[in-house]
């Protein structure tokens, strides 16, 4: 078994990052312009990293598949960004943010990484304000905060319901500035297809120009994968349609370990699926649970009547309603954490109490709040969300309870990285949602934006410099190297295969099929039998995919089906790994719920004795079983406790 | 590009020029209308006003300024229109605009107004200066060109009066958009004042239109 080198600096927790920065090797400004860095993805992590590395003077090549770096999916984050500023004087501190994040992650994250995240969180807010990010302010002109996701302090900075958009635009503007200065070369509508390794180090990528279809070689001294999460393995998720795992997956297949892939976050308040045509799920902010009450009918016949359209929620008498969260969790009620609320909804719907025609929806009812606070007060708090809901569903939530259902939202797992955010391949770094490092088994609300920007603005610039300091004599990496040739050929062969395959089924057919298996057997609740079945079913999907996939059009042109084919091929393989990871983790923690491991009351049951580790999987070959490596998690500052919301 | 020298070659510079010349031309319209009111009051007074306008040295200088204003407004409009056409070379098969017809057709209404202006100048300005104008007497008994009779004669023709009415209605739409648009172009926009500017613009457009069409209509009807 590989010995893990996590490269965490020695010394007390609070001094580690300071010490690291003091000891880190630097690259002389004159040498930086001779060193190339490739950054894949232009979301908060990738955009911020490319901009910062460009400012330092490295020669950066930034890639995104979208038509502009401004469209990366970070833009869709709504709620806010956490930072330990303690502007509200409610006892917040770096340590408290660190503690909340580790606890929220169900004690499955690395202390040193999380502490660093909490430490730089305050810098992020300073940086963003300096960039002109228009955060919400109070009348005195100072920044406003809101509370979020069950923590006991107000530390969330926000810009209405569009915090992700504003932060991403900030990073995009910083990136644009570097593009105009010539330190960053932007490659939009380019898909990363393969990692190129020379002498064991990441030295470039093969990319496809999505407009011309041309396959290109790009070399660099280091490669950063900041390509986001893999929620779209479920087909239906709140992720953007183009969000994909390809860059992360190619990293894995080139020797980077893939960690904790079974940890996925399910958001309890999304708009339910209406039919088979559905392409995407829409999130409704978590804040709705502050005033909305969640219920289903007590009688199955009422649920069925509602599903058939014979009755509406208003026909169900108060006594016939089951406010199941309030019933099960009297202390937290409707405000239990995301995973708990999601599983409870699934439990009721599986038992036959769902309230729409698919049977997969519960009510989120504001009538009490409207009676108590008045319609105007509710409108002031949630007006824009209610409006969005009405646009999508054509139902007025002031009069009729909303229907909601959980949906896949975020993936905590990802490419394994050390303290430097470097993967197991030297020179290959992973940042943001693409890595596994900070959120453990469950991410707290408003922490995704924080991690993306922390990695991009404040961590990678130091750790990459430290790595590149040894590369100042390397000189330009030639794209004529045999490894480039080999990687390019593999990419072209795969493209040729797709174009030549005389299949009968579209890419989406396979994606939907995979998504269904993943959702049913590796979704909100998993069990051994289901996961074993899923592995077999995915194997069958994979075989069928390579036999029957049909890609129309031509290769050397704009071809969106061809793009999707490559992405889905990778998702199918990732789905298999996720099931293996979920199968091997015989406990329930955070976003991973194994039905075999629950308390008598149906709550998640962790097994700290045997599973306080990061499961990092190593690729062993296409038809080989991947190898599991365990990085033991040492908790020196925090005592492990069972979460309870009763 | 040198910014100050290039000010009027930039898209925004051209907008300022459009706005400034447009408002200047509005002031001319106002003066023109006020002067013409004497058509209704006293033929002698009108003829004397005409003589004053064509002989006073200050007015002559202003005439040149006016010509320059017109030319700038027209040339600027041609350049803008050309650039705008080039910016959208392919049109939609189906296009629904929510803006007003006249706001989108300032070029068209402007061109028609220009054509009218040529006709108008030919009839009255050229006719007065170089044509064969009958003579009459002013208030002191001296000889004076009888512009009043010339106007009456012109408006006795139905087609001629009709052209005036149509052109002035189009001028009204041109002003209705142009007046408030000039303020927007120069960046003079305010939550409180802009609605008022729009109302003033509409009122100005209506007054100009009604004022100017009152002459052909009145003289046409009274000469039936």
């Amino acid at each position: 078994m590989t010995k893990f080198v996590d490269n965490i600096p020695e010394g007390p927790l609070a001094d580690k990052w300071t010490k690291y920065k003091a000891d880190a090797k630097l690259v002389n400004p004159a040498n930086r312009r001779n060193i190339d860095v490739i950054v894949i993805g232009t979301g908060l992590a990738g955009g911020a990293a490319a901009a910062s590395l460009g400012e330092m003077g490295f020669n950066v090549k930034s890639f995104c598949f979208q038509d502009s770096p401004r469209r990366a999916h970070s833009i869709a984050a709504q709620g806010g960004i956490n930072a330990a500023k303690n502007y509200q004087n409610d006892g917040d501190s770096t340590y408290r943010l660190f503690y909340d994040t580790v606890k929220g992650g169900d004690y499955r994250s690395r202390e040193a990484n999380v502490y660093r995240l909490a430490e730089v969180s305050a810098n992020i807010i300073d940086q963003c304000v300096a960039q002109g990010v228009p955060f919400a302010r109070e009348y005195g002109g100072l920044l406003d905060n809101r509370s979020f996701g069950g923590v006991q302090v107000q530390r969330t900075f926000y810009a209405k319901g569009q915090t992700g958009q504003q932060l991403l635009i900030g990073a995009y503007q910083a990136l644009s500035r570097q593009i105009s200065k010539g330190t960053v070369t932007m490659y939009n509508r380019h898909e990363m297809m393969e990692i190129v390794k020379i002498d064991g180090k990441a030295r470039g990528i093969i990319a496809r120009n999505l407009i011309t279809g041309e396959v290109e070689r790009h070399s660099a001294h280091a490669v950063v994968v900041a390509s986001g999460g893999y929620s779209n393995v479920f087909f239906l998720s709140t992720n953007a349609m183009g969000s994909n795992c390809t860059a992360a997956w190619k990293s894995y297949k080139n020797g980077a370990h893939f960690a904790n892939s079974c940890y996925v976050q399910i958001h309890p308040t999304c708009i339910p699926v209406t039919g088979d045509h559905q392409s995407k799920l829409t999130l409704m902010s978590e804040s709705l649970r502050n005033d909305g009450r969640i219920w289903v009918p007590k009688k199955k016949e009422d649920s069925q009547a509602i599903a058939k359209g014979e009755k509406t929620a208003l026909d169900i008498a108060e006594d016939d309603r089951d406010y199941y969260l309030e019933r099960r969790y009297p202390a937290f009620g409707n405000l239990v954490p995301r995973d708990v609320a999601s599983r409870a909804a699934k439990e009721r719907c599986d038992a036959g109490f769902g309230v729409n025609k698919t049977g997969q929806a519960v009510f989120l009812d504001f009538s009490d709040a409207i009676n108590r606070l008045g319609k105007d007060a509710v409108e002031a708090r949630y007006g824009n969300l209610f409006q969005m809901y009405e646009k999508i569903t054509a139902e007025n939530p002031y009069e009729m309870p909303m229907k909601i259902y959980p949906a896949i939202h975020y993936t905590m797992g990802g490419v394994w990285v050390d303290y430097n955010l470097q993967t197991s391949v030297p020179g290959l770094f992973a940042a943001g949602e693409a890595n596994f490092s900070d959120h453990g088994a469950n991410r707290l609300g408003a922490s995704a934006l924080m991690q993306g920007l922390a990695d991009g603005y404040f961590v990678l610039p130091y750790t990459i410099s430290n790595y590149l300091a040894d590369d100042i004599r390397t000189g330009a990496i030639s794209t004529e190297h045999a490894e480039f040739e080999k990687a390019e050929k593999a990419v072209k062969d795969r493209l040729d295969f797709f174009m030549d395959n005389k299949g009968s089924k579209s890419v989406d057919y396979f994606h939907k099929k995979l998504g269904k298996v993943m959702w049913e057997k590796c979704g909100m609740a998993r069990n051994k039998k289901g996961l074993e079945e899923a592995i077999e079913e995915i194997k069958a999907i994979r075989e069928e995919f390579w036999k029957e996939v049909k890609v129309p059009g031509v290769q050397n042109s704009f071809n969106q089906e061809l793009e999707k084919a490559g992405r889905v091929a990778d998702f199918i393989e990732l789905g298999d790994l996720m099931c293996r990871d979920a199968l091997s983790r015989e406990e329930s923690c955070g976003g991973h719920f194994r039905e075999e491991h629950q308390t008598t009351e149906g709550e998640a049951l962790r097994n700290d004795e045997d599973y306080t580790y990061v499961a990092a999987w190593e690729y062993k070959g296409d038809n080989e079983t991947p190898e599991l490596h365990k990085e033991d998690l040492k908790f020196e500052n925090i005592e492990l406790k069972q979460r309870s919301y009763k | 590009m040198s910014n100050s020298a290039g000010l009027f070659s930039s898209s925004l510079g051209r907008k300022y020029l459009m706005a400034i010349t447009g408002l200047f031309l509005c002031s001319f319209l106002l003066i023109h209308l006020i002067g013409n009111v004497s058509l209704f009051t006293d033929p002698v007074q009108f003829n004397e006003y005409t003589r004053f306008m064509s002989s006073n040295p200050l007015i002559r200088i202003m005439e040149i300024v006016l010509v320059v204003g017109f030319l700038a407004h027209i040339i600027d409009a041609i350049m803008l229109t050309k650039a705008n056409k080039a910016a959208q070379p392919v049109k939609y098969a189906m296009d629904k605009k929510k803006s007003t017809w006249y706001s989108r057709n300032m070029g068209l209404t402007g061109t028609i107004i220009l054509a009218f202006l040529i006709l108008h100048l030919q009839s009255f300005w050229y006719g007065y200066k170089f044509g064969d104008v009958a003579m009459t007497l002013d208030s002191s008994g001296a000889a004076i060109k009888d512009m009043y009779t010339m106007v009456l004669a012109a408006f006795s023709q139905s087609w001629y009066s009709a052209i005036y009415v149509v052109a002035m209605v189009l001028l009204g739409t041109h002003l209705n958009h142009g007046f408030q648009s000039a303020f927007q172009s120069m960046g003079l926009r305010h939550k409180k004042y802009t609605p008022a500017i729009k109302k003033v613009g509409t009122a100005f457009a209506v007054i100009m239109t009604l004022g100017f069409i009152s002459f052909p209509i009145y003289f046409y009807i009274t000469q039936l």
């Binding site: 901009a51 400012e55 502009s68 401004r70 469209r71 833009i75 869709a76 500023k85 810098n123 807010i125 300073d126 940086q127 963003c128 300096a130 002109g132 228009p134 302010r137 009348y139 920044l143 810009a159 569009q162 958009q165 504003q166 503007q173 910083a174 644009s176 500035r177 932007m186 953007a240 349609m241 039919g275 392409s279 999508i392 054509a394 579209s506 129309p552 059009g553 042109s557 704009f558 | 910014n3 100050s4 000010l7 898209s11 925004l12 803008l80 650039a83 080039a86 910016a87 959208q88 070379p89 939609y92 098969a93 189906m94 605009k97 803006s99 989108r104 120069m186 960046g187 003079l188 939550k191």
Partner: protein
């Protein structure tokens, strides 16, 4: 519930060199609960099954924030409803038997790549010449609360900053003018003290770039404001006009 029958008239253009044409498709049994893009997904699935090339269109987040989707639907950018993007448009906005025209954004500065996909990198180019605050990343920029900003200014800056860069303003403008887009950025940054320092230089450079890229002029018809999915106001264009005038007069270049 019986679905709707529709006739689609879709712009098909196989690459930048192709002349392009409207092609008619008949759709049957379309659920009113579908989003507009899901309806296109259904059509594409049918086309793939028939061995035809599916319709290329930009789309990503499908929740109205990324700004990718860009269809001119029945004569309006993002379709008939106000304040939404194409991906938020649902089929219940149409009636059984409707004919729907679907065209790409039309502007010289947004050349068609394929079918309904256009190249909007001109927007990036405008931002690149000044749509930012010149501040480097560092761990020690001044404390975020060191500089209070009046709430009204912060809110106005936010409203301008909500632009998603979709290009609907350019698409609907009879002059394909990018003034609303450009002014939204100029305004967002000029309203904040952090951005004020470079405000005039920014206005000059961004306007110059906008002109150079072949966008048309503003004739104040107001179509952009009406069609903007985020309701970006013409106030921003007025502010840009002021900034640019001041900057041009002061500039020593």
């Amino acid at each position: 519930m019986a679905g709707m029958n529709l006739t689609l008239k879709v712009w098909r253009q196989n690459g930048a060199e192709d002349k392009g044409r409207i092609v008619e498709y008949k759709m049957s049994d379309i659920s009113p609960d579908m989003s507009f893009l899901e309806m296109i997904d259904v059509l594409n699935e049918e086309l793939i099954q028939k061995g035809d090339d599916p319709i290329a269109f930009d789309h990503d987040c499908r929740e109205g924030i990324c700004g990718s989707c860009s269809m001119y639907i029945n004569g309006e950018p993002h379709g008939p409803e106000d304040l939404i993007t194409t991906c938020q448009l649902h089929m219940r906005s149409f009636k059984d038997g409707d004919t729907i025209y679907i065209e790409p954004w039309r502007a010289a500065a947004f050349p068609v790549i394929k079918d309904l996909v256009v190249d909007r990198t001109a927007f990036d180019a405008i931002i690149q010449v000044g749509g930012y605050v010149s501040v480097n990343t560092s761990g020690n920029t001044q404390d975020a609360n060191a500089l209070p900003i009046p709430k009204a200014d912060a809110d106005a800056a936010f409203d301008a900053a909500t632009c998603i860069g979709c290009g609907a303003c350019v698409a609907t403008c009879k002059n394909s003018s990018a003034m609303l887009f450009t002014s939204a950025k100029i305004s967002h940054l000029a309203l904040l003290p952090q951005g004020k320092v470079e405000a005039q230089e920014r206005a000059l450079n961004m306007v110059e770039k906008m002109d150079e890229l072949g966008f048309g002029n503003c004739t104040n018809t107001g179509d952009c404001e009406v069609q903007c999915p985020k309701g970006i106001s013409l106030d921003n264009i007025a502010l840009m006009n002021r900034e640019f005038l001041g900057a041009s007069l002061k500039s020593e270049k």
